[in-house]
C-alpha cells in the first residue's frame, strides 16, 4: 500500500519506518494498560536508533572509497559505544562501563580479528564494518543481559552471599551460582537464534546476498557462519563480563559492595 502512495525511495523508507514505529508504539500502549511503562525509553531508543543508523549509512556512503584500515577505528568506536549502552543495564554496579567495554572488545573484537585473519570476513570496509557491527551489537545485548541478571540475582540473594562470606567462603565462590546463572541466561537468545536459523527466521544478510547475486547455497552457509560467529562473540563477551564483574562486587576485604539502596 505504501508503495502506491510514496514513489521516491527516501520517502518510502521514512513511511516504512513510521509504520514499523507505529507497531512498536502499539505494544507500548498495550504494556501501559498492564502498568508497564516503556513509553519514554522506547521513544528515545527508536529516535536514537533511527538517527544513528541513518548517520552510519551516510558515513558508509562516504567511506566506500576509504582505505580498509579505517574499519578498525570504526569498530573500536562501536565497541566503546556498546560498552556505554550496556552500562545502563547494570545500574549501581561498580565499574560497569569498563567491564562492558573490555568484555565486548574481548568477545566481539577477538572473533572479528580471528575471522578476518582466517578470511571468513572480507576486509573491504563495506563487508567488515556491517558484519563486525552485527557481532558487536549482539555481544552488547548479551553483555547487558548478563550484567542485568547478575545484578538482580546478587541483590535478591544478599543474605545467602553474606552467609557464605561469614562462613569463610571467598568472594568468588560466594557469588559463583549467580555468575553461572547470568552466563547461561544471557546466552539463551544467541542459542535460540542458532537453533531456529532458517526455520523461524531468515536473516536480512542472506536476503541481501541473494539480491546482490550470490548463490543461494553459499548465502545460506554464510548465514550460518554469521550466526555462529555471533554466538562465539556473545559467549566470549558474557564469559568475560561475568568473570570481571564478580570481582567488582567484592571489596579487597571480601565484603559485598553491591547492596540494595536503603
Amino acid at each position: 500500500m505504501l508503495k502506491t502512495l510514496f514513489h521516491g525511495q527516501l520517502q518510502l523508507g521514512l513511511a516504512q519506518a513510521a509504520a514499523a514505529a507505529l507497531a512498536a508504539m502499539l505494544v507500548v500502549l498495550l504494556a501501559r494498560r498492564r502498568n508497564i511503562h516503556l513509553e519514554k525509553e522506547l521513544l528515545i531508543a527508536m529516535v536514537r536508533g533511527l538517527v544513528q543508523i541513518v548517520a552510519v549509512g551516510s558515513i558508509l556512503l562516504l567511506l566506500l572509497r576509504a582505505p580498509d584500515w579505517i574499519s578498525v577505528f570504526l569498530l573500536a568506536s562501536m565497541m566503546v559505544a556498546a560498552g556505554a549502552t550496556s552500562r545502563r543495564r547494570a545500574e549501581g554496579m561498580p565499574d560497569a562501563f569498563r567491564v562492558s567495554t573490555y568484555s565486548i572488545a574481548c568477545g566481539a573484537g577477538s572473533v572479528i580479528a580471528l575471522m578476518t585473519w582466517l578470511g571468513v570476513i572480507d576486509t573491504p570496509i563495506t563487508t567488515l564494518v556491517p558484519v563486525g557491527s552485527m557481532l558487536i551489537a549482539n555481544a552488547m545485548n548479551t553483555n547487558g543481559l548478563a550484567l542485568n541478571r547478575f545484578r538482580s540475582d546478587v541483590l535478591a540473594h544478599v543474605g545467602e552471599i553474606e552467609t557464605a562470606l561469614a562462613l569463610g567462603a571467598d568472594g568468588n565462590s560466594s557469588v559463583a551460582p549467580y555468575v553461572q546463572a547470568s552466563f547461561e541466561a544471557s546466552l539463551i537468545p544467541a542459542i535460540d537464534s542458532l537453533r531456529s536459523l532458517g526455520i523461524v527466521w531468515i536473516p536480512g544478510l542472506m536476503a541481501g546476498m541473494l539480491l546482490s547475486g550470490a548463490r543461494p547455497l553459499y548465502a545460506a552457509i554464510y548465514q550460518f557462519v554469521v550466526v555462529a560467529m555471533i554466538f562465539a562473540a556473545s559467549g566470549l563477551t558474557s564469559l568475560t563480563s561475568t568473570l570481571l564483574i564478580r570481582t567488582r562486587v567484592m571489596s579487597p576485604a571480601e565484603q559485598l559492595v553491591l547492596r540494595p539502596k536503603n
Binding site: 543474605g159 561469614a166 562462613l167 569463610g168 567462603a169 571467598d170 565462590s173 576485604a253 565484603q255
Partner: protein
C-alpha cells in the same frame, strides 16, 4: 552432647575481642561512632538498643562484613585488618536473623564452612553438632523441608562447625515463633554455660538480653550509651 566438639576453647578471662574507636558512616549517616569496648573470652555480651540504633551495624563490623570508616578491632591482640578475611570470619562466626540455608541436605550445610579451607567435616562431628542442636538424625534431610526453628538451629550448628572463637548472633530468634524461640535461646544459653565461643548477641528484646547475657551494651544513635551488667544497663 557437647556443642563444642574437640576444639573447646580455653577457660580464660583474657580479652578476645577489642573494639577501639570503631565507627562506620555512609554518605549522610553515621551508623556507628567511636565504639570502644573489650569482650572477654567466654563472656556472653548483649548489644541492645532501639530499632535503627546501630546494633547490627556494630555487629557486622566485628567480623568485617562491613569496613570500618574509623578505628579497628583486635582479635586476640592482632589488628583484624592483618588477618585474612576468610580466616577472621572462621574465627568470628555469625548467625544471622534468617538462616539462609544453602540448597541441599543439612549435612552439606554443616560441611560448607570447613570445606572452604579444604577440610572435610567427619560424619561423627556432623552427628555431634546436630545432636547438640537437638536435630539428631537430620543429617540427610533436605533443608527445604525444615521448619523455621529447625532451620535456625541448623544455621547455628553450621556456624559452630567452623569452631569459632567468637559467635556473633544477630537477632537469631526474632523471626521465630515462641516454641522455636525457646529452643534457640536454650542453645545460646548452653553455649554460654559451656564457656564455648564468646557470644555477642544483638537483640531488641531486653528480657532476652537479661536471660542470656552476662553483660550488656546499650546503643543509642550509633553510640555506646551504657555498658555493664544487664540489670544495671537495662533497668536504668
Amino acid at each position: 552432647m557437647s556443642l563444642l566438639g574437640t576444639q573447646r576453647p580455653l577457660h580464660s578471662d583474657a580479652v578476645v575481642l577489642r573494639a577501639e574507636g570503631l565507627g562506620r558512616s555512609v554518605p549522610g549517616k553515621i551508623l556507628v561512632a567511636d565504639a570502644t569496648f573489650d569482650i572477654r573470652r567466654g563472656e556472653a555480651l548483649a548489644i541492645v538498643g532501639p530499632s535503627g540504633s546501630g546494633k547490627t551495624s556494630l555487629l557486622r563490623l566485628l567480623n568485617r562484613l562491613d569496613e570500618p570508616t574509623s578505628g579497628t578491632v583486635f582479635l586476640d591482640g592482632t589488628d583484624y585488618r592483618r588477618i585474612a578475611p576468610r580466616d577472621l570470619r572462621r574465627r568470628v562466626g555469625m548467625v544471622s536473623q534468617r538462616p539462609y540455608l544453602f540448597p541441599g541436605t543439612v549435612a552439606e550445610n554443616l560441611r560448607f564452612g570447613p570445606l572452604q579451607r579444604g577440610e572435610e567435616l567427619p560424619a561423627d562431628r556432623v552427628d555431634d553438632l546436630l545432636a547438640g542442636v537437638g536435630l539428631a538424625e537430620y543429617a540427610a534431610r533436605n533443608v527445604a523441608n525444615l521448619s523455621g526453628g529447625e532451620a535456625q538451629r541448623v544455621s547455628f550448628a553450621r556456624t559452630l562447625a567452623n569452631a569459632p572463637e567468637v559467635l556473633l548472633l544477630d537477632e537469631p530468634t526474632s523471626a521465630l515463633d515462641d516454641d522455636a524461640k525457646a529452643e534457640v535461646e536454650d542453645l545460646i544459653h548452653r553455649v554460654a554455660r559451656e564457656r564455648g565461643p564468646t557470644c555477642v548477641l544483638v537483640t531488641h528484646d531486653t528480657a532476652q538480653a537479661a536471660r542470656l547475657a552476662s553483660r550488656a551494651l546499650l546503643i543509642e544513635a550509633g553510640r555506646i550509651a551504657r555498658d555493664g551488667p544487664p540489670q544495671e544497663v537495662l533497668g536504668a
